[in-house]
């Protein structure tokens, strides 16, 4: 789990003015991966549910980085053209925290990559 200072050292992206107030708290998940337990991770699971990367959530959503979350991260990274690491790396978290359209990302039937 990174210290608050490490974000400043590692990234100008996460400290830029465009950080999104709504998802600002997600920056504490930097470098989280399978097995991590970080308070608030359940909110990230809800984010992935909202945008179509997790089909359904349990009633009691936990703050553990489980396999379902890892799968969602991989799908997110693949869909949005990010390096596929399965971890909440800097590129991934920066993308997650950007303001965006509210429509789901994953309802497509046909895609073409150029």
């Amino acid at each position: 789990r990174p210290s608050p200072g490490s974000l400043t050292e590692k990234s100008t992206v996460l400290t830029a003015d465009h950080i999104n107030a709504t998802w600002h708290q997600f920056q504490k998940f930097l470098d989280a991966s399978t097995g991590s337990h970080v308070t608030g991770l359940s909110e990230l699971k809800k984010y992935f549910k909202l945008f179509g990367y997790i089909a359904a959530l349990d009633t009691n959503v936990t703050d553990t980085f489980d396999e379902r979350l890892e799968s969602a991260v991989i799908r997110y990274q693949s869909k949005l053209g990010l390096p596929v690491t399965g971890k909440l790396d800097l590129d991934t978290l920066s993308q997650i925290m950007l303001p965006r359209c509210g429509m789901s990302d994953t309802h497509e039937l046909h895609t073409t990559r150029h």
Binding site: S78, P99, H107, L109, H110
Partner: protein, 191 residues
């Protein structure tokens, strides 16, 4: 590019013409009506340039094909807005025509006049949402209009090859459109 399940599209007699109108009750007061109309006219015209579909502003909101409004929080469609930034807008697949923008955002038509660091370019978001209205889903191509995110205080309004190929597969090509001009423009901007 991507589509909604079933690849829904507008089904109208040729030549296809779709109307749009602004909600009489759900607008924002700090942008003038003329600025607002100009922004949407430009956004619709970009799509109309590549497909054989024209758009016109209608006066009667309730009978318009595309209904545009600014809403806050839970506004009754099951997809509540979340305040400043976060989700900026959403629009539904054909032939719903619902086009909703989050009233909590600081919408800008000119960053010279709108100094907020949180300002969001209305024309960029409008162009993206019209893509949904026409039947496009989110693209994986970062430069495409249909990529889902937008950085505040940035303008992204030009359709890319990915957007054009996607929408033309649904509606066909505007006879006046030339792919070569788009490719030249895209190559130039990439350089």
């Amino acid at each position: 590019f991507a589509y909604f399940p079933g690849e829904p599209r507008w089904n109208r007699p040729n030549p296809m013409s779709l109307s749009y109108a602004f909600s009489p009750d759900h607008m924002i007061s700090y942008l003038t009506a003329s600025d607002m109309r100009a922004v949407f006219q430009r956004a619709f015209s970009r799509w109309a340039a590549v497909i054989p579909v024209s758009f016109y502003e209608a006066q009667d909101y309730h009978s318009a094909d595309v209904k545009i409004g600014f809403y806050s929080g839970d506004h009754g469609d099951g997809q509540p807005f979340d305040g400043v930034l976060g989700v900026l807008a959403h629009a539904f697949s054909p032939e719903s025509g619902r086009f909703h923008l989050d009233a909590a955002e600081t919408w800008a038509v000119d960053f010279g006049n709108q100094k907020s660091r949180m300002a969001v370019d209305l024309e960029s978001v409008a162009t993206h949402e019209i893509g949904h209205v026409l039947g496009l889903g989110h693209s994986s191509v970062k430069e495409a209009i249909m990529y889902p995110s937008l950085i505040p205080r940035t303008k992204k309004v030009d359709l890319r090859v990915d957007d054009v190929e996607g929408v033309q597969a649904l509606y066909g090509s505007n006879p006046n459109f030339r792919f070569s001009s788009l490719l030249a423009s895209e190559t130039s901007s990439n350089q």
